[in-house]
Amino acid sequence: MRALERIDRRIIYLTLIVIVAIMTLTPAGLPLLISRETRLAYDTIEKLPAGAQILYSLDLDIMGWLQGGPQAIAFLQHLLNRPLKIVLIGWRPDSEFLILKTLTSVDLKGKKYGVDYVNLGFVAGGETAMAGFAADLRKVVRTDYGGTNLDEIPMMKTITSAKDFSLVVCPNTGEPGALGFIRQWRIPYNVPIITSQPPMTVPEFVPHVQAGTLVAALPAIRSSAEYELLIKKPGLGIAAQDAVSLGTLALLAFIVIGNIGTVWASKSGANRK
């Protein structure tokens, strides 16, 4: 029983790898309930009027792509499914590449570049640039990602500042991210914001949702699976869920085993005394 307290860490690693690998190759297809927040985010986008202008701000870094990527793809697909005008932008260097990756992962539904969507790429400057963009976007961005002047792009002719946007959709993993948008877009210009976050940062944003400064803050991995169900386009989000379930149970089992081992060891030590 004392051995329960001293399991080699490599056995723990191997257990996790085997469990996740088996679930990845042979998913059990566990049922998934749609949460209130995911439903709220979905309905908010569904209720947008035709022609509404949306800022899609992809603030993931490479590290966050694994967990936030499926949600980012699901959000963009949903926006493209609807008759909306989408401006894509990112405030982190990795955003430029990840926006291109996201665009190649979605079905564009026949939408035309420059008319229905435009990619502004990465804009340096973090929250400062975000604030400048909100006040007068042409002071911060002059061309799209491909170098075309904004005034030559049809859909950008009517967009000058944050006031022209109906919604910000922001899959992100940190600064400036959702907090930057709350401070620089929601509070001064009252633009609603939907965000997806790494699950461990969602508790920080629940107060903002309850205070009304955010529409919804979705925990990226779980919500991506739910969102894929809602837009009827299964992807990586759903594929990862079974592994998350079994992996969680494995961790709980190890914690229990560790505690049993410790209790046994302390009782044996007390008995010997």
Partner: protein, 223 residues
């Protein structure tokens, strides 16, 4: 096919650290750091061209020469003699960033949070009022827990103790979320390795497992 091979090899090299630190992991590590830095600069060059170079060359905005000179001053930090010059552009970045964040932080993170909390106590008797009372109590006691200008005795001490438990609830919440996040990471990478990079990845994994087994046997025979 080439992409799948490169991905499989790199992923297996990184995960070889789980067995023990080795040269393959170090190689992968150096590759990742190098590409990260190079990519940031490549993106920066592209952006600078659109943002500053073209307006200056076309004669539309010569004032952009000033931030370019200022930005170049940042590199003086590598010089022992002139490193003080880097303080000026850094001051501009830090000062602007601090001002931009500070001007709304009280509104977003204090005032609106308090405004959202107070009406919770005006709810009709029932679950909503109960929840509202819990939120207010945990908010106040957490603030008291971090209050260092008063001794934690008597009423303040009892409030701080409740606040301590409230903080542990949040920490448990964050830990639980972190676990989900991290397992999701592993699951995502498994999909990349075992599904998107298959069947090449199976061969690479088999080679890696064989190498590890050989190493284990070799070490045991040495002992």
């Amino acid at each position: 096919m080439i992409g799948a091979l490169i991905t499989s090899v790199m992923v297996v090299m990184v995960w070889s650290w789980l067995y023990r630190h080795n040269i393959f992991f170090s190689f992968a590590e150096h590759t990742i750091v190098g590409i990260a830095a190079g990519y940031a600069m490549a993106v920066g060059i592209g952006n600078l061209q659109k943002l500053a170079y073209e307006p200056i060359v076309k004669g539309t905005d010569y004032s952009l020469l000033f931030p370019i000179v200022f930005g170049v001053l940042l590199f003086s930090r590598f010089s022992r003699v002139g490193s003080w010059l880097a303080s000026y552009p850094l001051a501009l970045i830090i000062g602007t960033g601090t001002g931009v964040a500070m001007r709304v932080i009280i509104d977003a993170q204090v005032v609106r949070q308090i405004i959202a909390t107070i009406p919770l106590l005006a709810k009709p008797v029932g679950l909503d009022l109960f929840n509202g009372v819990i939120i207010v109590v945990t908010l106040v006691t957490t603030v008291v827990f971090f209050l260092y200008s008063a001794e934690h005795k008597g009423l303040v001490g009892r409030a701080a103790r409740i606040g301590k438990f409230a903080v542990f609830v949040v920490l448990g919440n964050l830990y639980g979320s972190a676990i989900s996040t991290r397992i999701g990471h592993v699951a995502g990478q498994m999909v990349v390795l075992l599904i998107e990079s298959a069947p090449v990845s199976f061969g690479i994994v088999a080679i890696a497992v064989a190498a590890i087994l050989v190493d284990i046997l070799r070490r045991r025979s040495k002992q």
